[in-house]
Amino acid sequence: MRPAETLAPGFPDLSQLAVARPLHWRRWLAAAAILLVLAAIVRAFAYGQIEWSYVQRFLTAPAILTGIVNTVVMALLAMALGIVLGVAVAIMRLSPNPVLTSVAAFYAWLFRGTPLILQLLLWFNLALVFPTIGIPGLWSARAVDVMTPFLSALLGLGINQGAYTSEVIRAGILSVDAGQYEAAQAIGMGRLRALTRIVLPQAMRVVIPPLGNEFIGLVKATSLASVVQYPEVLHNAENIYYANSRVIELLIVAGLWYLAVVSILTPLQMLLERRFARGVMQIAK
């Protein structure tokens, strides 16, 4: 028998040889083809009937700037309302009380089942159903005065968002191990405290990426609020092109602003994700 330390002959030492770079000519070909197509598209736009000077001029026009501020304000407020409603409805949906569960399910069914634009129009036209609204004996007002474009848009977008958010939050809560809830109970916590202190903070980690998605969707959905005369950026861009007929230029202006807002949101989402990944990402880092 051969001693274990001696190696069999016929296998040369390759450790000194350099590794040759492969040519990858297929990759070069594919890249060239794509760049050619892109160049053709850019060229078409550059020579198309677009007055780029108008785009530049209206990008910072006062009406457009107010519009984008209104868009962002509405998106933030509607998302806040949506999250508050979403958390409440998700907790209701998971409660042992059958009435709360059914009401929560009905809410999600109703507001996810009808078009957002229809809901916005209903809120705006609420005065047709209830000419006056208020608390009997305390306060009342004409619905036409209360249901301003701002409030109609906020209620329409926020309540609709709440229906979607509740499902996202519910998925997050369900993703947390049941043992966490038991451990919280074992140190004397009730259902609600266990949810807010132990389960929800862990659910946040799972919930933020889809909520980021929802928020990006909402930023763009604010453009629907133009049907209730809310002066968001697309509404104002439309008003300008009704006057000067520069349709495409103003649509490009609005589009650039939407892209800018959404681009700012992505790093913000990453910051939030890092915040709620405490304890989990420590080792993966």
Partner: protein
């Protein structure tokens, strides 16, 4: 005549068709270390979970420190207690889980002070210094600011024991505390439990560690098919079992 700390009387519990506990009665005395052994599905974990009401019993009664758990007797009928009341009763017991169940988003120290500060409303400073003392007791002073994911299984379980002790319970419940651990980590957890037993803590321990039972238990209870088959001192039950089923179980385990 003194009363037992835990009195379990004719407790039954079914999960659908499966009856996990059949008319189980048992006393646990203050300062006693009681080990529950038996095959999986024998009802030992269910019995433990019934004592701190993570599982609600179907019939019978459990008294802890003289107080009937989970229900109130009124006009000849039993009324279930409100969740708040049940949460208050749970404070008398500390539970250690098979899978540790530490809160992953909190450091070791924050895991320990969560109950004292949030539930018992104790001052954070006081709770923190007590938590440091508990961490020292389980040999983890250096890990106070570490997250559970950064700790080994044995370290996590020791933090979990400290978390349960922080509530100053009169009874500690251990549900297979070493079953999820790598073999080389079992010893450190058992050592902490042994120290706890020697300090006079009343303990109910569901375990497969017969060596631990032999060394630490004042009484060993063997369960099978939802009933107590045999009980006695460790040397009696583990050394010279009377029942055929106990003998069969022990010869299968060892």
């Amino acid at each position: 005549m003194t009363k037992p700390l835990v009195a379990i009387r004719s407790v039954s519990k079914s999960f659908g068709e499966f009856s996990a506990l059949k008319q189980v009665s048992l006393d646990v005395w203050t300062g006693e270390v009681l080990c529950l052994i038996g095959a999986s599905g024998s009802g030992k974990t269910t019995l433990l979970r019934c004592v701190n009401q993570l599982t609600a019993i179907d019939s019978g009664g459990i008294w802890l420190d003289g107080e009937l758990l989970g229900v109130r007797e009124k006009d000849g009928r039993l009324h279930r207690l409100a969740e708040r009341e049940i949460a208050r009763q749970r404070l008398k017991t500390g539970m250690v889980f098979q899978r540790f169940n530490l809160f992953p988003h909190k450091t070791a120290l924050d895991n320990i002070i969560e109950g004292p500060v949030q539930v018992q409303r104790r001052a954070a400073d006081e709770a923190r210094s007590e938590a440091q003392e508990l961490l020292r007791r389980v040999g983890l002073s250096a890990k106070a600011d570490w997250y559970p994911a950064q700790l080994s299984g044995g370290q996590q379980q020791r933090v979990a024991i400290a978390r349960a002790l922080a509530m100053k319970p009169m009874l500690m419940l251990f549900d297979e505390p070493t079953s999820a651990l790598d073999p080389e980590l079992v010893g450190e957890v058992l050592a902490v439990m042994k120290e706890l037993a020697q300090s006079g803590m009343t303990m109910m321990v569901v375990t497969h560690e017969l060596g631990f039972a032999r060394e630490v238990a004042d009484r060993v209870v063997y369960m099978d098919h939802g009933a107590i088959v045999e009980q006695g001192s460790a040397s009696e039950v583990l050394g010279a079992p009377r029942e055929a089923r106990t003998k069969a179980f022990l010869s299968a385990v060892i």
